[in-house]
């Protein structure tokens, strides 16, 4: 990595970050770009609101003769914990109108503003493990094999088996839905089933331009150059997480 020479005997978090012990598992994290808070979904049903920056925090400054040096700063303030769900908070995403959208084991989908205000926007019968948000005021959640679009354009679609992952394309036009048997594209109405029988998909990710969709399933990565329904595939071994940047698919 082309990092500037810093005395990095310690992990980066210890010199340029803030760490908080919350006593319960972190389940997921999302950012509210407007307020600059990270929202962490926690195992006790709360959402922790962590500030990205604070007064007199650590910084880097240019050093005489080149490079940079660390300017140690004040410790971070405590995090706010907003009690949102009964039982675990299962997912969190940035809400299209600012703040966060969370879902919980209690079947609720709630909007949480960065000042802690909570508004329940859906109550569903059963734990809601997966949500997706994005452009076009998309707020979607999955329960069992049903995906609900919430809000003004409320609608739903049933896929073949239990939904494991949702990914909205960058334009907000199409939602990719992975279930235990395959992948479906949904733009309202009936979905388009992409190739099934891949093995259980474990993750979905769109390219930045929305031209292709990546999927981890079985021991392979698949990518569809839409609208061509035939994927290109590389065998890589077990994959647990998937993401994209520009035209690169990263998996681990």
């Amino acid at each position: 990595m082309n990092a500037m020479p810093l005395p990095l005997a310690r992990p980066l978090l210890d010199v340029l970050g803030a760490r908080w012990r919350v006593g319960v598992p972190a389940v997921a994290a999302a950012w509210d770009g407007r307020s600059g808070f990270a929202g962490f979904a926690l195992g006790d049903g709360s959402l922790a609101l962590a500030p990205a920056a604070w007064d007199n925090g650590p910084t880097l400054r240019p050093r005489d003769g080149g490079g940079v040096e660390l300017v140690p700063g004040a410790a971070a303030p405590p995090v706010a914990r907003v009690p949102v769900h009964h039982g675990a908070c299962l997912s969190v995403a940035a809400d299209p109108d600012g703040g966060f959208l969370t879902s919980g084991a209690d079947g609720q989908v709630a909007r949480v503003k960065s000042d802690g205000e909570i508004r329940v926007i859906a109550q569903i019968d059963g734990p809601v493990a997966t949500i997706a948000t994005g452009p076009g005021a998309w707020r979607a959640c999955a329960i069992g094999r049903t995906v609900h679009r919430l809000g003004m354009s409320a609608s739903s679609i049933d896929v073949e088996t239990t939904v494991t992952s949702l990914a909205l394309d960058p334009s907000g036009a199409r939602l990719a839905i992975a279930d235990e048997g395959g992948v479906t594209l949904w733009a309202g109405g009936n979905g388009q089933r992409l190739l099934a029988g891949l093995g259980a998909p474990s993750g979905l990710a769109w390219s930045a331009d929305g031209a292709w969709l990546g999927c981890a399933a079985g021991d392979a990565l698949h990518a569809w150059q839409l609208p061509n329904p035939a994927p290109v595939t590389v065998a890589v071994g077990p994959v647990g997480s998937l993401t994209t940047a520009g035209s690169v698919l990263a998996a681990g």
């Binding site: 979904a41 990205a52 993401t243």
Partner: protein, 104 residues
């Protein structure tokens, strides 16, 4: 960790990150730089780059596996959380990196 550029021609995936016994649990790509963040089942967190073996350690192993990971939309911060109950936010100022970010 595997990086693949599916150009719909013959492209082989690359490997990067740390080779250890722990499984990668979370991967996220930086929104504006050629940098990938990865979290491992033993709690390790790193930043790494395609075509490079160099990496920056974010956090050492411990406090359970990495269970939450995400870059801020502008790419100037990273959030990381673990099964063992630690949540953390890391600043990624431009001075940390030699190259300029991609323009939006």
């Amino acid at each position: 960790m595997i990086l693949w550029r599916p150009a719909f021609e013959t492209t082989a995936p690359q490997l990067c990150g740390v080779s250890n016994q722990a499984t990668v649990t979370h991967v996220r790509c930086h929104p504006r730089r050629d940098i990938t963040g990865a979290g491992y089942a033993n709690g390790t967190g790193v930043l790494c780059q395609p075509n490079s073996t160099a990496l920056l350690f974010i956090r050492a192993a411990g406090e359970g596996g990495v269970s939450a990971l995400g870059f801020s939309p502008a790419g100037d911060h990273l959030a990381i959380g673990t099964e063992g109950g630690e949540i953390a936010v890391l600043a990624l100022p431009d001075g940390l990196f030699c190259e300029s970010p991609r323009s939006k």
